[in-house]
Assembly symmetry: C2
């Protein structure tokens, strides 16, 4: 901040624009504004729910005050904080890069004494980039989350095989219950359970119903757990009595997953992996309608981007944790996706990776 | 659009910026861009999942194409659509008002032939305002959603009283299962179930755990169902063996709910209702840390705004459906919230309302 002459940075986590940086920095998991400044106190947390903030941000050095003191209006808060901290007129103040254009104009109109910055590669984005590489503590907690995920995968397989899980709802409710029993704060997103009639969709809608699951054809189960703020994200496909075309689809997806993971090394460009998978599918005249993967962490989708697009400059490095999730979908055949979470462990001289999760294609017959 | 000389409007529903207008207009429930223009075809839906769009937007007159044809880049899509439709150079093109400032600059840089509009009171916001007043079909489906909600409330009460529901998880999982059994697409948001140790938070975090529920003190249960795209949103408080201070809290919240609902008439300013509740609480030196209510519809939070703020100009009118949800929270006593869904039914000459849901304070002992 000093280098760029920025006196005050505001981050905003609200219903319309989630910014998990605030939780990552302070521990507070709810709606809030976080002000970072070059003068004391360096961090001020303005929380909607002060009681919750005092509980969860207790370890962080931020001063906690109530959003209601500012009529829950960020512009009012930023003005008051700038005044309180004695930010000199003419200083640069940075607001979130997600600020809508009309709201940006309001800030500029209100903060006439300051130079308002709102930019793509500012504080919010730098923090998100920092989050892409996990430290030891983050890796440790993700390993624990992965262990819970893997135990759940085994339980799910056992229960589908035994017939205890007969519907999408049986699978989704089991995941809901078991994640909390295992000490997780919840699932990392709404479980997507799609039996053969609904697996053609990338993300089934509704997310799960009482439709049959694990019956003849392709059934997809996409879920994750969130432990101490850190997410996993896996997808299993259950198959039964496939025809030749469905077999081919499944084999292609398995092949793509293997190919992608074998390339997931320190120093590899993420888009090269995604491009290799696209090429593999193209050879069989198939096209994947979504990206190959994404980072996971305090958010279920974060950096790095694992996608075949010309502007994707992400290069894999040690400490990154991301999904590899090739999938193919067909209105008649159904869909197949195989998603696991990968940790890059190596160095430039000794590349390496670790597959944290054990999602698989489960062949029921 | 013609009146304002706008040739093309783009709406965007994506992970970072949800816009339920697209579902409302076309039926498609997933990530998409919707282009509205003054020339044929008047609506073009660019969906991430084309298979899903063809299923859900089948009734709508929109032309459906794939987001992947444009590398999933809105700017590329808008340029291609403008060209396809033959929008003349110099025309006004409106992009979503939620577009972040840095992204807005990118649009302007890309759409050099056009006059790019991005404004607070544009198409997106006008559609959201239209949604605030429900038509007969919308009221009918909300009534059905309310009936399912009310049956669930009775089941929940019965099961807490009988001891079948002992934990927050028992309540949350029952809601999850029963909503789908009743034909709902899901809950309208993640159920918040907070036993006496956790009810002090406005929105409990985590949303629900295996902690005791319905034991001595105050337990809050906030949930809703979504049927055919339409939400309900209710909050029950369960009480047991309260001390005098807790009794006072509960009585105040009940009194506030009655007062607010009695004022919920056609022609009333929403902020006057919220202000009356704030005054009632202030007399007992209490302060509610959140707004009094909000519209419900295809989104769990929509217009009208039922909040005591000087810039809230919403006036209640026939066909509006919204929550009234006074609540008080204390780190030591716990929290109490009572939330019901109200439909304005009257006219200016004959004001009237209907309480669609039957949420209540449930006294266990």
């Amino acid at each position: 901040m000093s280098q760029e002459g920025i006196a005050l940075v505001m981050l905003e986590d609200c219903e319309a624009r989630r910014d998990l940086n605030i939780r990552w920095l302070t521990g507070h998991p709810g709606d809030a504004l976080l002000f970072l400044s070059t003068v004391e106190p360096r961090a001020i947390l303005i929380a909607w729910d002060v009681n919750l903030a005092k509980l969860y941000a207790a370890q962080s050095p931020a001063l906690v005050t109530s959003y209601n003191d500012f009529d829950r209006k960020p512009r009012k808060a930023i003005n008051a904080i700038a005044k309180k901290l004695g930010i000199p007129a003419g200083s640069r103040i940075e607001i979130p890069c997600a600020t809508p254009y009309p709201v940006f104009l309001d800030y500029v109109g209100e903060l006439t004494d300051f130079d308002v910055l709102c930019r793509e590669n500012g504080a919010e984005s730098e923090l998100r980039k920092l989050r892409a590489v996990k430290d030891e503590e983050e890796i440790a907690i993700t390993r624990k989350a992965a262990a819970i995920t893997n135990e759940l995968i085994d339980t799910l397989e056992k229960n589908v095989v035994s017939g205890k899980i007969k519907t999408e709802a049986d699978a989704a409710l089991l995941i809901q219950a078991e994640t909390r029993k295992a000490g997780c704060e919840g699932t990392s997103f709404e479980t997507l359970a799609a039996g053969p009639d609904r697996s053609f969709a990338i993300h089934a809608f509704p997310a799960w119903t009482y439709a049959p699951f694990g019956t003849k054809g392709l059934s997809i189960l996409d879920f994750g757990v969130k432990l101490g703020g850190y997410c996993t994200d896996v997808t299993l496909t259950f198959t039964r009595d496939l025809d030749a075309k469905q077999e081919k689809l499944v084999n292609l997806v398995e092949k793509a997953a293997k190919l992608a993971i074998s390339m997931a090394h320190n120093g590899t460009r993420a888009r090269d992996i995604a491009s290799a998978v696209d090429e593999l599918f193209a050879k069989s005249k198939k096209k994947m309608p979504h990206g190959l993967g994404h980072g996971i962490g305090v958010q279920e989708h974060e950096y790095p981007v694992i996608r075949n697009s010309s502007d994707n400059e992400w290069v894999l490095e040690s400490g990154m944790i991301f999904t590899i999730e090739p999938g193919l979908y067909d209105p008649l055949l159904g869909g197949c996706r195989l998603e696991n979470d990968i940790l890059i462990t190596g160095s430039d001289s000794q590349p390496g990776y670790e597959i944290l999760t054990t999602a698989r294609i489960i062949k029921l017959g």
